[in-house]
Subunit: 189 residues, 2 copies
DNA sequence: CGCGCGATTGAGTAATTTCAAATCTAGTGG
DNA sequence: CCACTAGATTTGAAATTACTCAATCGCGCG
């Protein structure tokens, strides 16, 4: 399982065994069952998570109790309520398992120690943060320029397995339309 | 003008005069008139920009020629077509002046040299990238959970000067509604 | 076999868009 | 200082799109 992490990091920065051991020592492994919460809104956000296997949803609940999916997270993704994590405030969103999931957990303190102890890792996280920023901007762009059907196709192109792994209701929530509308768009293509 | 940059950086990492001189030496100053383009879609993206003064829009044009505003950039903001900048590919978006604007330009090579030459600066950019990622996620969240009127109020709360500085058509485009709809929401509050 | 969850379908309603026309405003030249 | 024009904003009305709520369908699991 730690091999997943190592390969993931080495796509960006090569590590010696010793260096990886140092990095690895700051993470702890956790396993969660389907429907379990890694982060609950209102609570403190202890970790940022690297997903080894499984599928998660980052959701925000509005005043009327409706759920909105801000992001999915699958193998090789980092996820958290980043605002709450970095600022050490209460979570605004929840992070919940769609499937049984295994993650590597990194606390803010450990994150800082890894960055401070190994210059390469700060570089790695910079690359990841930039990639995350870019990905979010792409998603904003798709909200502005594409209708729900096009967004649906883009999503499935990028992450074909989601179609099998997540109920359509959740995909609709991610795309920002009702499940009924998604269903209708679906049949009309 | 370079003082603006220094203060901006020192909000996150303190710099000696010498260190700042090193950083500063990698930027070049440019001034643009209202309506001028810093980045044109289809062209190479040479720089990431730090806005010293003025106001910019990052826009994407869809197939039908309609403009969509991905982001505004004002004093103290960093902006670029980051995907194209980091990957050194053709711009998908354009960056254009809404007002006369002064920027500090940083090429990818200089960006890397600054990071490599001064650990603190890599740390600075990491903080900025994380902040940018978080801000984009907040915007996605507002698309999912708020209607156009609420998004409009949130925008004006966060950036009150935009109301004076940008034509309403552009605000509408940023919010993802037609200018007519924005006008109507506006009068009904 | 029947229960329950997810997905679909239908009908009516609400919100948004589009296109067109009317207003308003700031800056310019006379 | 005023009239004029270009750009920005507002308003109106019809058409489209998406939403809600309710009912139905389909399928896997106990």
């Amino acid at each position: 399982m730690q091999e997943t992490l190592r390969q993931h990091i080495e796509k960006i920065v090569p590590l010696t065994d010793e260096e990886f051991a140092f990095v690895r020592s700051h993470f702890i492994v956790k396993k969660f069952r389907k429907r379990a919460f890694l982060i609950r809104k209102g609570e403190r956000v202890k970790y940022t998570y690297f997903v080894v296997s499984g599928l998660l949803k980052l959701v925000h609940e509005d005043e009327s109790g409706k759920e909105h999916i801000v992001a999915f997270a699958m193998e090789d993704w980092w996820e958290s309520d980043f605002l709450a994590f970095f600022r050490q405030t209460k979570a605004v969103m929840s992070l919940q398992c769609i499937e049984d999931t295994e993650v590597l957990c990194l606390s803010l303190e450990d994150y800082q120690q890894v960055c401070a102890g190994l210059q390469k890792m700060e570089h790695f996280f910079l690359q990841k943060a930039n990639a995350g920023h870019i990905a979010s901007q792409q998603r904003i762009l798709s909200f502005l320029t594409s209708n729900a059907k096009e967004r649906y196709e883009q999503l499935l192109n990028r992450y074909p397995t989601l179609f099998q792994r997540a109920p359509k209701t959740l995909l609709a929530s991610y795309l920002g339309v009702s499940r009924e509308t998604l269903s209708r768009l679906w049949s009309s293509s």
